[in-house]
């Protein structure tokens, strides 16, 4: 099958959505500039016109509110925040408005809005150009969140998000833009709320999403070489997340590491750990472990950056500690 990069897959989803549905338009900062969105929207303004690919003033708040208004009027807007950090200026329209709208008015109207939010970190960019804030929005009822890890999912989840009819936050990570994978050329949807087993295993489950999925797959390779069989689940959707898939896997392996690109405290991994504790406690052979960011803002110096971001090596180290713990307990019993 044909392969595309992750950025090309996003671009193809935009292109096909815009070509097939006149209600779809895109609004946000930097849409005419590769400086902001990489190659993921290249030349879309030329193909579809700058009144459908709207590069806006520096107004995250009103731009997002305008997208909500257009959605309520029957359009299918995609509002783009080229850095998740900047999107915090639109917290009111996202949380107070879009996420609450259907419920506040008794389900008489929905907000068919996609909020594309880009994680863009590393390169000594520091605390306000690095954040991965998915957990903030996980907390809020009324908004769905997807975080594709592969080019295939990057395309299929964007199409599903636009067609969903509810507010969906689509979070892509620029660290993934050059990764390559098979992508069908036709339009297709990856169902929101459905995770996928990326590697089967029997002794340990590693749940991840977005860039951390690549790290989890690397870690699973390393562990396999060392004789440990790890199953990797790519969540793909953070909200709703695929409970059944995770619980089934944990009931099989008895061990769980959740790897997330956000902070540890109050994060995605904490939520999944709590759910597994509630619903699969009797199957656990070891405490659930989190691999996520330390509770500190992103530093700049590359030395500190290297220490800050967890990678496959952290996952491997945590996995080996989990296994060692079980072995030492077993020895004591003997």
């Amino acid at each position: 099958m044909r392969t595309l990069t992750y950025a090309q897959a996003i671009r193809e989803a935009f292109e096909q959505l815009l070509a097939s549905d006149s209600r779809v338009f895109v609004i946000g900062q930097g849409l005419w500039s590769p400086w902001y969105v990489g190659t993921s929207m290249q030349d879309l303004d030329r193909r579809f016109g700058r009144d459908r690919i709207i590069d806006t003033p520096v107004s995250e708040n009103a731009t997002t509110g305008a997208a909500i208004g257009a959605a309520l009027a029957g359009m299918r807007p995609i509002v783009v925040h080229p850095r998740m950090d900047f999107m915090l200026l639109a917290a009111d329209p996202i949380i107070n408005q879009a996420a609450n709208w259907s419920y506040m008015f008794g389900g008489q109207i929905g907000v068919p809005l996609v909020i594309r939010s880009i994680i863009n970190r590393g390169g000594e960019q520091g605390a306000q150009h690095s954040q991965a804030l998915q957990a903030f929005f996980l907390h809020v009822p009324g908004i769905k969140i997807v975080m594709p890890a592969s080019p295939f999912d990057a395309k299929g989840l964007l199409i599903a998000a636009v067609r969903d009819g509810n507010p969906v936050m689509y979070i892509d990570d620029r660290w993934l833009y050059d990764s390559v994978g098979e992508v069908p050329s036709e339009m297709y949807e990856v169902p929101i709320g459905s995770g996928v087993v990326r590697t089967s295993g029997s002794q340990l489950t590693i749940v991840a999403s977005s860039w951390m999925t690549e790290q989890a797959l690397e870690a699973a390779e390393t562990l396999r070489a060392r004789g440990l069989s790890a199953e990797v689940i790519d969540l793909r959707s953070i909200k709703p997340w695929d409970r059944q898939l995770v619980l089934t896997s944990v009931r099989k392996t008895g061990r769980l590491i959740v790897a997330d690109g956000g902070w540890t405290t109050g994060g995605v991994a904490a939520e999944i750990a709590a759910t597994v504790g509630n619903e699969a406690f009797d199957y656990l052979k070891a405490p659930v472990q989190r691999v996520a960011l330390p509770d500190a803002p992103a530093p700049t110096s590359r030395v500190l950056e290297r220490a800050y971001y967890p990678t496959d090596k952290h996952i491997v180290a945590v996995a080996e500690r989990m296994m060692a713990r079980v072995q030492s307990l077993a020895l004591k019993v003997v």
Partner: protein, 322 residues
Amino acid sequence: MTSSDSELLRHLYRTMLRVRLTEERLAALVEAGEIKTPCHLYIGQEAIATGVCATLTDGDYVWGGHRSHGHYLARGGDLTSLLAEILGRVTGCSKGRGGSMHLFAAEVGILGTVPIVAATIPLAVGTALASKMRKESRVSVAFFGDGAMEEGQFHESMNLAAIYGLPVLFVCENNFYASHLSLLERRRADNLYQTAESHGMPSARLDGNDVREVYASARTAVDRARAGLGPTLLEYRTYRWRGHVGASWDEDVGVKRRAELQDWFAADPIRRAADALTALGTSRAFFEELVTAVIGEIDEAVQAARRAPAPSPAELLDHVFA
């Protein structure tokens, strides 16, 4: 003034009176403890919603905030559904999920009012953007108070509407208070309408208690928007008689405005319209019959709302998603 002008004024008078008497009834129900949801009453400001909405046609969008009973009624929202919503009934305009501050009437272009100050201003820009993209002639009206002009969303929205030439009316109802703080405690000068100049947008400062002036000025702005000539900011000066929220007069929370109130009672938009109608030869009977009819309608609506069921707890988690 022609007979059609006189007819229009009678229509505007009737709308204002209906809003006023509904709000007075709500005030009584608040005082009686039957209404719990926070009600921000529109008494004193009726001419603005009335005059502006009378210039609109089917398909236009109207956006409001926390003080929007008047916008809802002036635009033609159903009275019984409003009362049922405020009384927390499942037959309410928001199915008992919204209360006084979240009103919905899609059939008249009200896609939701919300109490985050200024939050619906960018939404109005968004409906206008949709209209422009679809080459429709719909106009979007954003009603907001003077406090909203202190929010960033307001300024961002003015700019977006101006640069994209969108069919929006930014309608500021300057009632001189944001909650308990007066206008000049919150800004250096009484110059709200001048904000438009820096956005390259026309604006005007107008008497918000003169329903004919409201109607005429809104008519000009609506025609302009519909003709593709872009947005307008209208500052209507008015006064809310009751307190920020509830049925009281705010003296209970230490806001000293008794002298101001007396001046604004004298500028009552409904009395001024009645005086104008009387001068045009409208009979006493017209006024008497109208009051009786409107009170009868409100009585019926209250009774119907009271008879309606509350929402079922079994439906608590419905509609988080559409």
